[in-house]
Symmetry: C2
Subunit: 150 residues, 2 copies
DNA sequence: GCAAGATAGTTACAGTTGAAACTAATTGCA
DNA sequence: TGCAATTAGTTTCAACTGTAACTATCTTGC
């Protein structure tokens, strides 16, 4: 390739973006159609399914989402009684979040669906390829963070 | 990992999303601050730098963007005289797009910056790792498209 | 040669987004 | 104690997004 011309279709950031958008859209459709959840809401649910009792800010850290996005996702889920919120008595700014019964029920249904999508996505990769992918994603993510940090 | 609990931080779609968002945000900052371009505008520019004379619809295909997004990006770039548009005399619905002088000047500056970011992102990967990444991205993208299609 | 459908591109609209400003509560420190 | 700085979380606002509807042009089949 000529040095003065860039092949967008081989450019790593572009390729990552196309892959991620394809995957995210497919999953968003499932979450929305079958469970009425947005992607941010699904992420909040996943964080609380794994780590019950997190505060909204801790959810934001775990999920790499903006605190505004988390606030709105939590608010919508509270309206639907998918979550329970308990204000911390020691620090009344904080509130501990857990999955309520309805939220836990959706979580139990959605986890196998998410796993199944992941499995189908990766199933044509060999064991070695899957291990390599794992390692490469970790390395690239760490590096991207370093670059952004300065 | 318990079958009933999903580790979000190991979930492939989530990891792709975090990596892509980190990369896209870093690049968007550069494009915006140094060249006044949005990501869609940069993509339009990249497509036309590589393939001068594409129509807006062809740009949308090459860049995997929505035609509305392309229309708006093109419109903003025409306002700044970064692009030239020539209506096709054989089919007056179509219009051929090329980089105008100002657009070509920005393109010449931005391509090395984009390349440098990509190089820094991948520089701690061995040759073999880079080749593996290339292959894995292509496979996953193809597979994601298959799943979405059917 | 002309109505019915297809295609390029734009506009309108309703929903989503994040930065910045805000409220309320807590902490640090003089 | 008391006041400035910090932190949790929400609200506001302006920008961006994609779907659907639209205009204008072209193609097809009769």
């Amino acid at each position: 390739m000529n040095d003065d011309v860039l092949a967008l279709e081989r450019f790593l950031p572009y390729r990552l973006s196309v892959l991620t958008n394809t995957v995210s859209r497919a999953l968003a459709r499932v979450y929305q159609d079958r469970f009425g959840l947005s992607i941010p809401q699904w992420r909040v649910m996943a964080a609380l399914g794994r780590f019950p009792g997190l505060s909204a800010n801790e959810v934001a850290e775990k999920t790499a989402m903006d605190k505004v996005t988390v606030s709105r996702a939590v608010s919508g889920m509270l309206d639907r009684d998918l979550l329970a919120r308990v204000v911390d008595t020691n620090d009344r700014r904080r509130a501990s979040l857990t999955l309520a019964a309805a939220g836990a029920a959706i979580y139990a249904e959605i986890v196998p669906v998410a796993r199944d999508y992941e499995r189908r996505l990766a199933e044509m990769l060999s064991e070695e390829d899957q291990a390599a992918l794992d390692r490469l994603l970790d390395k690239l993510t760490e590096r991207a963070r370093e670059i952004s940090a300065g």
